[in-house]
Amino acid sequence: MSAPRTIRPLLFVLAALAAMATSAPPAFAAPAANDQCYACHKDGETPQALAYAKDVHYQAGLTCADCHGGDASLDQKETGMATSRGYLGKFKKSDIPVVCGKCHGAGDSEFKRRFHLSAVSDSLMAGVHGEALRANEKGPQCVSCHGVHNILKVSDPASPVSPGHVVKTCATCHSNATYMRDFNPRLPVDQLEKYLTSVHGQKNAQGDPKPATCVSCHSNHMVMRVKDPRSPVYAMRIPATCAKCHADAKYMAGYHIPTDQYAQYRKSRHGIALLEHSDLNAPACNSCHSNHGAAPPGAMSVVSVCGNCHQSNAELFLKSPHAAPFEKQKLAACVVCHGNHGVQSPTDSLVSMVAPAPCAKCHKQDGTDRAAPIILHMRALLDSLSGGQARADSMMQRAEQKGMDVSDAKYDLKDVHQALVQSRVAIHSFKLGELADAIHPGIAVLAATETAAKEAVHDYYFRRQGLAVATLIVTIVIVLLWLKIREIERDQKAKKPM
C-alpha cells in the first residue's frame, strides 16, 4: 500500500531531514571552491548570498547545499536543486535546529573536533525555548538569535549574541508583549528596561564585555524556567550563579567591590535557610539587589528592601527616633545593627551598652546620654520574658518527666513565645513604652504557666504522700484484721470439745 499523493512530498522532506541529521557533517576548512549555488546567487546579488560572504559557515567551507540539500557542484538549477538530489528549499522554522544539529548536535566527527563544536542544538531543544518551538512554530530557534545567512562568531562584536548585543537580541522577543503572550503571558516583558538601569547594564552600555548579560545568568542554549531546579537562576542556585563573577577576585579586579559576599552569605541566616534548609522563601541575592535591575540598594532604601519581608520591623523603624538621624548621617538603617550579606539570627545581646553591641557604637554610658538607661531597661524587659520562658519550659519538663499532664500550660506557653517574638519586633520602635506593651501580656501568661507547672509538681508529691498515708492505714487495718482472725480462731480452738 502506498502513501496518499498529498503526503508523499512531506514524507520525502522528512526522510531527507532524517538523512541529513544522521549523515556525516561536511569536512571543509576554507570557502568551498565549487559552490555553484553560491556562485549563481552571488551573481544574482540575492541578499542571502551577499550576507553569506561574511558568514562563519562560509569561511569554514560550507556550501548552501550543506544546509539546504541538493548538489552544489551542478550549475543547472533544475538538476542542482532537484528534490531527487535531496534539495529541501526553505525550511520550516521548527526544522532549523535539526539542520543546524547536523554539525551542532550530538555525535562526534573530525569536523566537529576541528571547530570545537558542541551539541548546542540539543541543549536548545532540551530547554524552555525548545519547548516553545515544539508547541508553536513561531517559537525561538537557532536563527532567531544567531541570524540566518550572516552568522558571526560570538566573539565578533557585530554578532547579535556578542556581549554588546545579546541583551537586545533577547529583548527582541522578551520585550515584545504581543509575541510573549503566545508563549507565557505571565512572564514580564520589562527585563531590558530594568537591565539598562542596572550596574551590569550601564557598564555593558559603556562597552565593558565583562558585566553580566542575559546569558551569563540564564545560560545560552539550554535556558530553563526559573522554577526549574536545573536552572542557574533557580532560587537555590542564584547565589552560586552570582558568585561565579562576584566571588572571582581576578575577574572583579578593577570594579573596587568586595568579593566575599558569597562566603558571608553562605554562613548567614538567610543563606543557611535557603541553601541548607531549602527554604525557597529565604532571600537570595536578587531579593535585595533585584535581578535584571541589579544594583546595590542605597543607604535609605535598605529599610524598604528589608521591609519587603520584615514589614513590621521596617514600619516601626521609620517611625522611630532613629529614622531621622540615620537618614541625616546616611547610615544604612538595618545594616548598621544586623550587617548585610552575613546577617545572623539576632539575639537580645544586640540590645546592650557593651561593645560590640551596635547600641554601644553610637550611645555612651557616661551619664550624659539619655538613651543609655532606656537601652538597659529594654534589655531587662526582654530578659525577663526570655528568661521566664526558659524557666517555665524547664518547669514543664520537670513536671512531664514526673508523668504529670501540663499540656494546657504548655499550650499557653506558646503565647509567651508569641509575646517574645512581638517584643523583638517592637524593639525596632526604640521606644520603651511600645516594648513594654508587647512584653506585659507575655509576663501575665508566664506567671499563670509557672503556677500550673509548680502545681503539677506539687500534685505529683501530694499523690505519693497520699498513697503512702492510705497504704499505711490499709496496712494497719490488714494487720489488725489478721490479729482479729487469729484471736477468733484461738477462741474457736479453745471452745472446741477435746
Binding site: G466, A470, I485, Q492
Partner: protein, 359 residues
C-alpha cells in the same frame, strides 16, 4: 434494761425478713481447709475488683462523653481537671486488668482441681460466661478513650473477627457499626460497656454466686475416700469472710500502688487517617490468640490461614468449655491425667505466646 441500737435494728429486721434463717445458714456454712484452699479466694478477689470497676465506672461516666470529637477530650478532662479523676481512671484501668487476671487464675484453679464436675457444671458454665464478659468489657472499654493505640487495636481486633468463615464479616460490621472503626463503633462499644454487659454480667454473676451457695465449696478429690476425722473445715462466717476481706484489703493496696506509681497513659488522640503506628497489639489477655494467629500461614490448602486459626481457636474454646461433659465420659477418678496434661499444655501455650507477643 435498755436495748442497744444494734439489737433494736436486728429486731426491726427480724420482724420483716428471715434474718434468723440467713444467720443460721451462715453459721453452718463451712469451707474445706487444706493446702489448696488459697485458690478459693480468687473468685472473691475477682468479685471485689468487679465492685471496684462498677464504682469507678459510675464515677467516670459522670464526665465521659462518647464521640469522636468528645471521647478523648472528656477523658483528658477527667485526668487533668477533675479532682482525683486521674486516680479514678487509673484504678478503673488497673482494676480491669487485675480482674481479668484473677478470673483466669480462678478458672484454671477450678479446672485443675476439677471442681467443674457434677454437680457444679452450671457453675463452670456461668463462670466461663463471666470470663467472656470480662474480656468483652476489656475490649469495649479499651476503645472509649479514643486514643491512637485503642483505635488501631480495635481495628486489628475487629478485623480478626472478620476472618471467621461465613459470618465473620457480618459480625465485624455489627461490632463496628459499619465498614470501618468510627463514631458508630465508639457509641455502640460505650452502650455495651456501660449498659448491656453490666446488666448481663450482674445476672450471670448472681446465678454463679447462688449456685456456689446452694452447692457449697468443692471439696478436694482426695477427700472422697478419706475418713471424716481427716477432713478439716473452717466456718464460712466469720473465718472465711474475714480472710476474704483481708485479701481484698491487700488487693486494694496493690491497686492503689499501681494506680499512683504507674498511672495509665492517655496517649494521643486517634487519627483515623494516619498510618497505624508500629507494634500495634491487643491487650495482654488477647495476646496469646493474636500471636498464635500470626504463626498460621496465609493459606492452608485452599483455606485462608487466619480463618483456619479462628476456627481452631473456636473449637478449642468449645472443648474447654465442655470439659464437664467430656471429662465425665473418660475413666473417672480423682486424678484424670488427660485433663490435667491438657490444662498444663494450655497454660504453657498461653504463657509462651503472651511472652512472645509482649516482646
Amino acid at each position: 434494761m435498755k436495748r442497744s441500737l444494734q439489737d433494736r435494728l436486728l429486731e426491726w429486721l427480724r420482724q420483716r425478713l428471715p434474718v434468723d434463717a440467713v444467720t443460721e445458714f451462715a453459721s453452718h456454712k463451712k469451707v474445706p481447709a487444706y493446702k489448696g484452699s488459697i485458690w478459693y479466694y480468687f473468685g472473691g478477689i475477682a468479685l471485689f475488683l468487679f465492685i471496684v470497676q462498677v464504682t469507678t465506672g459510675i464515677l467516670l461516666v459522670m464526665y465521659y462523653q462518647p464521640g469522636v470529637q468528645t471521647g478523648y477530650e472528656s477523658v483528658r478532662f477527667i485526668v487533668v481537671h477533675v479532682k482525683f479523676g486521674w486516680l479514678v481512671r487509673s484504678i478503673h484501668t488497673w482494676s480491669a486488668n487485675l480482674m481479668i487476671f484473677a478470673v483466669f487464675v480462678h478458672m484454671f484453679s477450678v479446672y485443675f482441681t476439677k471442681a467443674y464436675r457434677k454437680p457444679r457444671e452450671l457453675t463452670w458454665f456461668t463462670g466461663l460466661v463471666l470470663l467472656g464478659l470480662c474480656m468483652g468489657f476489656g475490649f469495649s472499654g479499651y476503645l472509649l478513650p479514643w486514643n491512637t493505640l485503642a483505635f488501631f487495636a480495635t481495628k486489628v481486633g475487629t478485623a480478626i473477627v472478620a476472618t471467621t468463615p461465613f459470618v465473620g464479616k457480618t459480625i465485624m460490621e455489627i461490632l463496628r457499626g459499619g465498614k470501618d472503626v468510627g463514631a458508630e463503633t465508639l457509641t455502640r462499644f460505650f452502650g455495651l460497656h456501660i449498659a448491656v454487659m453490666p446488666a448481663i454480667f450482674t445476672l450471670v454473676l448472681g446465678a454463679h454466686l447462688l449456685l456456689i451457695q446452694i452447692q457449697g465449696m468443692h471439696e478436694p478429690h482426695h477427700w472422697e475416700h478419706a475418713p471424716e476425722s481427716e477432713k478439716r473445715y473452717m466456718p464460712f462466717f466469720p473465718n472465711f469472710v474475714l480472710r476474704d476481706l483481708l485479701l481484698w484489703l491487700i488487693v486494694l493496696n496493690v491497686l492503689a500502688i499501681l494506680a499512683v506509681m504507674f498511672p495509665w497513659e492517655l496517649g494521643f488522640k486517634a487519627d483515623p487517617s494516619a498510618a497505624a503506628p508500629m507494634g500495634i497489639k491487643p491487650e495482654w489477655y488477647f495476646l496469646f490468640m493474636y500471636q498464635a494467629l500470626k504463626f498460621f500461614p496465609g493459606k492452608i490448602l485452599v483455606f485462608d490461614g487466619d480463618a483456619v486459626g479462628v476456627v481452631l481457636f473456636g473449637i478449642g474454646g468449645l472443648l474447654w468449655a465442655l470439659v464437664p461433659i467430656w471429662d465425665a465420659k473418660l475413666p473417672q477418678g480423682s486424678r484424670n491425667r488427660i485433663v490435667t496434661y491438657l490444662g498444663i499444655a494450655v497454660v504453657f501455650m498461653i504463657i509462651i505466646l503472651t511472652g512472645i507477643g509482649l516482646r
